[in-house]
Every structure is written in structure tokens, then in C-alpha cells.
Symmetry: C2
């Protein structure tokens, strides 16, 4: 904890009461110009930094928001947390970010940590468990972003989500239009987004008069250790000439395998866009998520809920954009 210069020291040095120091430093108008000046000078000379904990405990709010993210190394979440921070900062809120590594246990302790830090609200990208959020959160406002846990339908929380069905359908449809006859899928292990993306994939096939085929619907392990082998399975054994990839981490593994397979006419598509896809040798079509809007909307809803706890929960869907390279 920092050096011990407190409001009391400043008060003593300035020859005024603690109350006056407090007022002077918080730009309270009911204090003489001179007094304010003197107090401010002395405070900065002494290197006084108000103790935010003491303040928060007194005013019963921290002006801090908690953010729970499953994997900060995943570029999508890096950008999402940045978007959330920017949006929060625009509204004058600080942010404490916690990683869960997709682990329910870590998510639970993250939640506890944030609650103990008395954050004014929490933004959660859920690790997907059947956690009883309402029981843990109590009266702390929260909004779910990107992923919705299974039982959250009837809970009092907002959800800010991407339209995974539409986004996936658009991409798979594009692959088919570009000539793919048989499009496989390597989906992610994350239940919420994966099931929506699978639906989008199947709708695209059906709309094109094709029959979904379980033999070319694969699911990656959480650590993606089986992706390269699945890529071969779908593209060689199953003779797919199109492939939809469930997220950017899986895509990286697929790209790692492709050169071995030498398939110049493969139609490749996937969720999540990355700048460096510009440098890839093969064409690729991606669903770029509206990350900035996701962050801003989540913050807007959370702050609204903090301001008015009776606000009714909403589910908001934002659309992904299809990008062809």
C-alpha cells in the first residue's frame, strides 16, 4: 500500500479540517477560492493521493466495472476487451479484467474476486457452465456478451450477442455460390456459439438443396489438438471441396495443415477475421464480428442497469460482416 500521507496530514499542514480538504479536492463549490488553492498546493506538495478504497467504501460505489474474458490471447477477446475498456472509459468507469482460460472453476473465482472488489457491474463472456449466476451475483448488475450460458433465458440479465446463425449462413452460402459442392465444418468446442454456428451452416446447406451430413461435421477439442487431423479427414477422406471453420484459433491450425494437402481449389471460410489473413496465399471468406459495437452496447446496457435496477432485460443481436479475400 502506498506511502501514508492521508487527508489528515493535508488538513494539518493546511491548518483546516479534514472535511474542508475533502471538499476542496472534490471541487465542491462551497469552499473559498483561497482555501481551495492552498489545500490543492499543499496536497500536491505532500504527494497526497486520496485513498480510493476509503472513498468507495464511504460512497458505496467504486466506479469500476468487472470484465470476465475466457482467453485474452485469443485475438477476438483481446479486441473485445479493448472495446469494452474504451467504452467504459468514455463513461468514466475503470475496468478490472479477469481471465478464465475457459475454466468454470476460474470463472467462479473471478466472479468472487470482482464481487469482493465491489465492482459496480460485471460484463461476462461465460465459460458456458450451468452456473447459477443470480445466486452468486446477488444484486450486482451484469450483462452477458458474446456467449449466453444455458440457463440465462429467464434471469434478469441482458445479453449482447452476435448473430451467429446469419453470419455462418452467409459464409457457407458464399462458399457454395463460389462452386463448393460439399462443404464440411470444423466447429469449436464452445457450446453456445458452436451450436448456433452449426445451425447456420445447416441452414445454408438446406437452402442450397443439400442434405447435411454428420460425417463432415467435426468438433475441435478445446486445445485444438485434433484440428489438423480433422482437416485431412474432411478434405481428403471425405473429399470436401469447401470448409467452414468455427473460429480463428481453429483456423490457424487448419492453415497450418493446408500446405501439406495441396488443394488449390478449396473454398475456405470461417468465423472471425484477422488482419494478417491479408497475407495468406489462398482465398478465404470470413465473418468479421462487430467488436466495437459489442463492447459499446454491453457497456451501455450495463450502465443503464446500474442507473435503473428495474430495467427489463433484453437480448440484442448484432450482425457480422462477410469479408472475401
Amino acid at each position: 500500500m502506498t506511502g501514508k500521507v492521508t487527508i489528515k496530514d493535508v488538513a494539518k499542514a493546511a491548518g483546516v479540517s479534514e472535511a474542508t480538504v475533502s471538499r476542496a479536492l472534490s471541487h465542491n463549490p462551497r469552499v473559498k477560492r483561497d482555501t481551495r488553492q492552498k489545500v490543492q498546493n499543499i496536497a500536491s506538495n505532500l504527494g497526497y493521493h486520496p485513498n480510493g478504497l476509503a472513498r468507495s467504501i464511504r460512497v458505496q460505489q467504486t466506479h469500476t466495472l468487472g470484465v470476465i474474458i475466457p482467453d485474452i490471447l485469443n485475438a477476438f477477446f483481446t479486441h473485445l476487451s479493448r472495446a469494452i475498456e474504451d467504452a467504459a472509459s468514455r463513461s468514466g468507469y475503470d475496468v478490472v479484467l479477469v481471465n478464465t482460460d475457459e475454466s468454470l472453476a476460474k470463472e467462479a473465482s473471478a466472479l468472487n474476486l470482482l464481487l469482493e472488489k465491489q465492482v459496480d457491474g460485471i460484463i461476462i463472456t461465460s465459460a458456458g457452465g450451468p452456473t447459477d449466476y443470480a445466486a452468486i451475483l446477488g444484486s450486482t448488475p451484469a450483462v452477458f456478451v458474446d456467449r449466453m450460458p444455458p440457463n440465462v433465458q429467464d434471469t434478469p440479465y441482458d445479453r449482447v450477442l452476435v448473430d451467429n446463425v446469419q453470419g455462418t449462413q452467409a459464409i457457407v452460402t458464399r462458399l457454395i455460390q463460389q462452386g463448393a459442392q460439399r462443404v464440411g465444418i470444423i466447429n469449436s468446442a464452445v457450446s453456445f456459439t458452436a451450436s448456433e454456428r452449426l445451425t447456420g451452416y445447416q441452414k445454408a446447406l438446406t437452402a442450397a438443396g443439400q442434405e447435411p451430413d454428420a460425417a463432415i461435421e467435426a468438433t475441435a477439442r478445446e486445445d485444438n489438438s485434433n484440428v489438423q487431423q480433422m482437416t485431412r479427414q474432411l478434405l481428403i477422406n471425405q473429399k470436401c471441396d469447401g470448409l467452414f471453420v468455427g473460429d480463428n484459433t481453429i483456423m490457424e491450425e487448419v492453415l497450418r495443415k493446408l500446405p501439406d494437402l495441396n488443394l488449390p481449389h478449396l473454398q475456405l471460410g470461417g468465423f472471425d477475421d484477422q488482419d494478417w489473413f491479408d497475407f495468406l496465399p489462398q482465398p478465404i471468406v470470413t465473418a468479421k464480428q462487430p467488436i466495437a459495437e459489442l463492447g459499446q452496447t454491453a457497456i451501455d446496457r450495463l450502465l443503464a442497469k446500474i442507473a435503473d435496477p428495474d430495467l427489463l432485460p433484453k437480448e440484442i443481436r448484432l450482425s457480422a460482416t462477410t469479408i472475401s479475400r
Copy 2:
């Protein structure tokens, strides 16, 4: 702020004193098994979460460390902050991370924020200004990582740095060994690392019997907006057949320009490694920084300093690894 169930509520419901609740919940041995059980049950039934602010203010430490990072979207810093978090978490510390966007003003408010949050210590990747850290930090321990501000030499802070000179020299030497006759440099705008990397570059040239030439030493703008043009300048106008690039963000712009220039025999090298360099069509040699060690070492030093404020400051240099693709 969270629902208002406090230690007092638990005490009342359990028919004991607040002190006993506190003891029971903090596994203090001096409390009867039965009482502890009862208290724990009641606490969890009530959905009690201890108020960490109140606790911290009382015990005069937060068990939280602050981390100041210039750009969380830069992959190097994403990984560095993750490494720091992991190391901190291993020692039971929480982390609050703040972005500065390389702005001195934002760095100043980040520092203030962390100080007001009463963090036990701070890890700083400096935006590079002449900030008087000692004046701001007071007695809060801090360590500098990756970059050292100009005036920190004689201040009481540890520095954990990469050996930029050696790392750069190794790469440029490699480029020359591979046949480059004239190696240019596009350096970053960050003064600390840039000047060290320039030194390494020049040492490599000199060691190879070449004369450094200011005409092929370029510096990128902070937003890299002039990098593509510089790439052309060095590779076409100045006829460089080798190029050293100061960091990964600049490298991305260089890579964006290269296809236009059609230089199949270019010897390309740069600081910072990225996984996706695997997918590049041309060869590239990079300096991979020891990020995990950087984070762990910084945390080790910081915790040591927290434990013993009289610890003498040290400067630690870690080596980068040369990777050829």
C-alpha cells in the same frame, strides 16, 4: 456496489459477534468447529461476500498489483500482460491492467488510478517520457519492464529488459551471412528500444566491415502511416537487399507493401515473433522475446521489493532468440 449483506447481517443471523464471523471465515484456528460450520453455512445462504475494500483498508494492503501497458492490441504486450498476470496469480496476487496508448497523459492518469486503488506495487512499461516517477509513486514499489524511461538510472526501481542490442545484432548478422550486401532499417518511434536496436544494427554492420549509412536508417511514425512508403524508399530507391524491421507492428506494414515490390531475394528480419509468420510466402528471421521470463522476473522483483523495501535496485537483461523461417 453489491447487495448489502454485510458481516453484521451474518453475525446477527448466526447469533455471534462480527469478530467471530470474521475469524470463522478467515480460517482462524481459534474458533470452535461447530461455530465455524454454522457461520459458513449462514454466510453462504445469505450470499455473503466479504467487502474487499473494507478489508484492504483495514489491513493496509490490497494484494493487488497494477500493470501499465502502452498498447494491449499489440501482440507483444498482449502476451506480456498475460505472462505478468499468470506470474502474479501464481503468487496469489490480483492484477489491474491499464492501457496508455503510448500517451504520457494517459500514463499519468493510469498511475494515479492505480495509486488511488492502493495497489501494493506497479509494473510499468513506460511511454517513455521524462516523468518523475519517484515523485508520483512515493513509497509504492515499482519495476520497469521492456522499456526504461530516460531518467530512471538513478532511481530506486528495478528494470527488467530485453537485450535489444544483442538481439538485433544477431539478426542483422544473419541477414548479412545469408548474402545481404546492403541492409536498411525501419526503426520504431519508441525511443528506448529503438535506440538500442539501432545500436545493434550498426554494430552488426561494422562487425561485417560495412559502413553504417544514414540514408538507409529510417524511423516509422507512431501510427506507422509512413512505413509502406519507407519500404519502397529503402528497397527500391536505395536498392537495399536486406531489411531490418524494428517491431511487429511495423513489420505488418512492410509485409503489406512487399508484394507490390516483387523482390524475391530480399533478406527480411525484425524484432518480435508472431505465430502467423509461419504462413508468410517469403523467408523471415525474427527475434523472439523471452516474454514469459520477462513477466515472471518482473513479478519476482516486485514482490521481493514489496517484502523488503530496502532491496537494492537491479537491472536485468534477458536475451532474445533468433528464429529463421
